[in-house]
Symmetry: C2
Subunit: 223 residues, 2 copies
DNA sequence: ATTCTGTATGTTGTATACAATATTCTTTAA
DNA sequence: TTAAAGAATATTGTATACAACATACAGAAT
């Protein structure tokens, strides 16, 4: 058997192309909460028929980025204050759990990656570009999450993260939060490297707590 | 404005009817893991066109009950030992979290319901009907989960529960496990009524631990 | 006998057509 | 002027048609 892999996996159904396109548009705020998603219009704009658009919208609904009313169509999901708090409450619990698992399961190679990611995050903060900071922040957390080796846990957390992606980005743009963010990353890194379950879990919880406070005060300044 | 609610909500899209039908068939084992789901056949059997069947299958895929290969169709999801362990690991963490939250948030009314559900579970065990036991077991846990008031947490846990429903039922049919199940329910109930967070969380974890051991030894007797 | 190739068949992916319902706008009556 | 009714329009829900691809089988060449 020769090892020609002959990349035959490059086929993507149109529904998935549309799905990724719409998903990105929602997460980046191009499509705003409450905005209606009409099949024909999107189909024409994307140059496909209604079918793949329908299927993409249904997928987005299951992911929680879109809400549908029967016979009335779909719109970009609007998250309520309660909804946001609920998401963050679950995330806090699961992130803390991830941090604890990471202490037990992280490999030496992943430890190096985590140190590197922590450093790169700090450099991104120095540079000050919000998009870069967000990317490096995600990368840092992804290493921790992936080190658990639990795929169900990974996909569950990623789904929760997706729900608040839009709002979290606003939070990262707030420069005054960044020193604290850096400090929290360092604490978390240190706790994991020292296999200190309790401290790692606590650090992860505090990290989300601060996110929650910031995000809520930005979206609901009076509450 | 008169308050005529004029039950106009009884419309259900065909895709949802098909979805619920297939879902039930999978959860009850009528459709077995690995079995192919072919659109035309299902459509003919259910007396609808391919479209709603397609959409239902996609929904099932997102719920994790069905796996799809592009251009090759769908089949009932098969869970691996690793997949089962992953699901149970997340459930353990979230169930424990629910139990702790329940201590803080359960209302007096829900406390009464929980006591009643615990009693009814014990009666079901006395009667010995597996289906009834399973129903009462779900009812007991649902009260705890719902008492958290966190809808995201509720739906996340319900999705995880769905993944292992088929296997859990086998576990409940094993009569030797039932006394322990009863004991665990009583411990959990007592801890919640006494607002003992630590004990409630621990009880929930042990409850899942035992499920895991039983289920795994039934499905993978050698492992 | 085995492998390759071509054909026939089956299945999914996408587009389109039609039906049922929502929405909007216009007209009419008070 | 406002409210109600009805027609016109827009949009979703479902069915079907057709194309692209996958699979299975038969026959030919080695």
């Amino acid at each position: 058997m020769t090892e020609l892999s002959l990349n035959m996996d490059e086929y993507l159904p149109l529904r998935d192309v549309v799905f990724h396109t719409l998903r990105r548009a929602i997460l980046t705020g191009q499509l705003k909460p409450g905005e209606r998603l009409m099949e024909i219009h999107l189909a024409q704009k994307l140059g496909v028929s209604r079918t793949p658009v329908r299927e993409a919208i249904h997928k987005l609904e299951l992911e929680g980025l879109v809400t549908m009313m029967p016979r009335r169509g779909a719109q970009v999901a609007q998250i309520s204050e309660k909804g946001l708090k609920d998401v963050l409450e679950v995330r806090r619990a699961l992130d803390a759990f991830c941090a604890e698992l990471a202490c037990e399961r992280i490999t030496p190679k992943e430890e190096e990656e985590l140190k590197k990611a922590c450093k790169e995050f700090e450099e991104a903060v120095k540079i000050g570009d919000p998009t870069l900071i967000a990317t490096k922040d995600v990368a840092f957390h992804d290493i921790i999450i992936n080190s658990t080796g639990n795929e169900r846990l990974i996909s569950t957390i990623n789904n929760l993260a997706e729900q608040i992606y839009r709002y979290r980005f606003e939070y990262i743009k707030d420069a005054s939060q960044r020193p604290r963010l850096m400090e929290e990353h360092r604490t978390l890194l240190d706790a994991i490297l020292n296999k200190d379950l309790a401290r790692a879990g606590k650090a992860a919880r505090i990290h989300i707590d601060n996110q929650e406070i910031s995000i809520l005060s930005q979206i609901y300044p009076e509450g």
